[in-house]
Subunit: 453 residues, 2 copies
């Protein structure tokens, strides 16, 4: 028997994400009867999403109801699940920050103020949920997952689970090294969000790491020399990934690859060497505008389809479930359709060597009992000391700065950038970032400890 639930989608104007969610709900019979309430601050985008969702579900004859609202509190009312995918400031603001810091001598966003607007929204949302729907699950589906989920889990009593798709990078590893059916790989890649490491990689009952070693030895150089990225994010098998594997003994998965040490990121030539042609990975002045343009074109196309009564949305978008984990997790929690998922939840000992209240990315069993992380034990000490624990300290500093409104911690963060060359440069770029249009609230917030001689 189907159990309908009420799902609130915050930041629903991300049309591709929202339509994917609707698709998964339509194709999950056990969730028939559910209601979805889309909420966004952008009425136009909201309208597009609402229309697409309603028409798509109608085409498939799915038993779902849809609402849309600009009022977050209204969306939260009676919600069983809240999916937060909101991106407050957007790509154009990000670009303006990069342009400003470039004028201070920084290459491609080599310095920043952290994620104030995202953290503010997440904390406000979780606090609203405490008031309006205290028993609902919050499924955090936008960045920063690590910092944001840790913040919300610590500061509120809300059940928080963060999701990301970076972990699917293991499939690309498997495909590239010649595994015929990547779906049949047994794998595990725990850590922190955007900092996960392939501890298990098993195919047909055998350790498949030797296939990676052989690929690097026999095909690596040729691949790095000749491979042309299929998309800006196609870096899973890049020289940078394999270099990290050599240093750490475990393969980095997903977004882990595009981070790594500062030395991969000093300039466009260096980035191309480590992340490949033609863009040098997703985080360059070549890749990012393309990616944003793609998102905008995609939205425009969806808006067009929403207004075209003759289009078939099922033809346009297909009727196959996405790879997103939101709906299967809801189905597991509500209907006991058990599964194992890659989640971001408070540690409580799942990953050794981190405090209980830090949100870790680990596999979890999801069923009516809840989201129960699997104890994965310890990562290699070198990975803990050079990757996980430094990230943990960065997170703690960001959350402390945020909770205390301590401007001196923003300065410290700016000075820690490997690209900052002098104290004066750090102070100057911080000043300009604080005075930037759109940062008025942020600057007001970080008003403690501003007098440094």
């Amino acid at each position: 028997m189907a159990t309908g639930v009420r799902v609130a989608v915050i930041g629903a104007g991300s049309a591709q994400f929202s339509l994917g969610l609707v698709k998964d709900l339509c194709l999950t019979e056990s969730l028939a009867g559910s209601q979805v309430c889309f909420m966004d601050v952008n009425a136009e985008r909201l309208e597009v999403v609402y229309k697409l969702a309603a028409r798509y579900a109608a085409e498939l004859g799915a038993d779902l109801r849809f609402e849309s609202t600009l009022d977050r509190a209204a969306a939260l009312r009676d919600a069983d699940f809240v999916i937060n995918t909101a991106y407050v400031k957007g790509h154009h603001h990000e670009r303006a920050i990069r342009d400003l810091t470039a004028r201070h001598g920084y290459y491609y966003g080599g310095v920043n103020l952290g994620s104030y607007h995202q953290l503010r929204l997440m904390l406000d949302l979780a606090r609203d949920m405490e008031r309006i729907c205290p028993d609902a699950w919050l499924i955090q589906s936008g960045n920063p997952v690590f910092e944001g989920c840790t913040l919300m889990a610590r500061e509120t009593g809300i059940k928080v689970c963060g999701l990301c798709h970076g972990h699917y990078g293991y499939l690309e590893v498997a495909r590239t090294v010649g595994i015929e059916d990547p779906e049949r790989v047994t794998w595990q890649a725990p850590g922190l969000n955007h900092n996960i490491w392939l501890t298990h990689f098993i195919y047909e009952g055998k350790d498949a790491y030797p296939l990676i070693d052989e690929w690097i030895a026999t095909k690596g150089e040729e691949y790095w020399r000749t491979h042309v990225a299929r998309g800006t994010h196609d870096v899973q098998m890049s020289r940078a990934a394999c270099h990290q594997y050599r240093l750490y003994g475990l393969f980095p998965i997903g977004d882990t690859v595009r981070r790594g040490g500062w030395w991969y990121h000093t300039d466009i030539d260096t980035k191309k060497r480590w992340y490949g042609e033609p863009w040098g990975g997703p985080d360059t002045e070549l890749a990012r505008p393309l990616f944003v343009k793609y998102l905008e074109e995609r939205f425009a196309e969806m808006a067009r389809l929403a207004e075209d009564p003759h289009s078939s949305l099922v033809d346009a978008f297909g009727a196959v479930k996405t790879r997103e984990q939101q709906v299967p997790i809801i189905d597991g929690l509500v209907n006991d359709h058990e599964g194992v998922f890659q989640v971001n939840v408070p540690n409580h000992g799942a990953l050794e060597g981190l405090p209980d209240d830090v949100v870790v990315e680990v596999p979890a069993i999801v069923n009516r009992k809840g989201i129960q992380p699997i104890h994965v034990g310890a990562l290699p000490r070198k990975i803990m000391l050079e990757c996980i624990l430094p990230d943990w300290l960065d997170m703690e500093r960001e959350l402390t700065a945020f909770m205390e409104g301590d401007r001196s911690m923003l300065l410290w963060n700016v000075l820690q950038s490997h690209q900052t060359r002098s104290y004066e440069q750090g102070v100057a770029v911080l000043k300009d970032l604080l005075e930037m249009t759109g940062h008025e609230e942020l600057t007001e917030h970080y008003s403690r400890n501003t007098d440094w001689l």
Copy 2:
């Protein structure tokens, strides 16, 4: 009644330190009857120290016996206390490293391989003690105290206590801000060695921090502009110290001041601005040669006195106790002459937020019961996150690299230097450092994980 003990001094060729120790023993009647065994690998220096000690004690009529040996095991036999002050490679080797790294573009030792030779000696010594004098106290009196004491305490069953004199910096703070009798200040400055913070500063029953604030406000700028350092290490009231105080809310004490962020250390002009004229603090190309020359002249003068039968050593060196804590601590442990000392011992909860097996610098009550650290509670969160915990991770990385012989962790350390500008530069300077004369054993030791693409 006096209780004689047997004290082994390892690295006794440091004449000033050894003579200070002898002086304190001579002037501590309750330790009459003690034996001191000087051990060093340098026979010539050892001879000077032995002669000075014997003649000084004889002049004072002190009941002490002295031995000297080149054989460490012989020195340890029947020892109740082992004082390790050995500096394996010495200042000239340090200089050669700085010259080499300068050729790779680094300013004044901006990159290094860690403290392999010191750690090796400390661990070997502690292991010898386990075998030869397992109940003796090891009083570590040379750097690196933090890393070395943590290593020895973890890897052996020896009782370890590290000492440093940096904490006396609080007296200079008190003097400078106009406190009449600095000795009557009630103070506390816990943390990690070379990373300690003045949590309490009380004079005549009142918080004396307002005196610091007033001094900075009314006299700081003039002092920073006009003060001429009395010695290379005279930086306790420097602009850098007061800047750290502004950022952190607590005054940094002793060697803490000369560290701080990379931005104080980019070049000689910057260092002079933050640490004052004429040397820019102790860690510059101007100060260090002077300091080393002073040590050498001092030793030459002591060697001359040792050979001059007509000299009075008491006239030359006085008969007042030093400020060193070694002998008072021995007296406390042996004779229950209780005192509070600034020690470096395994944490066990004394300083909140650090593991039990990390050596912290805290006050401790010393008496026949042992060296019992005082629970100082927590340091401010910003100090923990920006100063203490990053230092803790650096220590863990250095000890892990050392214990595992992992060369890739040396590379990571080199790359972490804020002065390293590219991966290639880091690899090149590491290669040259490993191939340097005097690093043969080190290079052999770090032979794991050497293949990085």
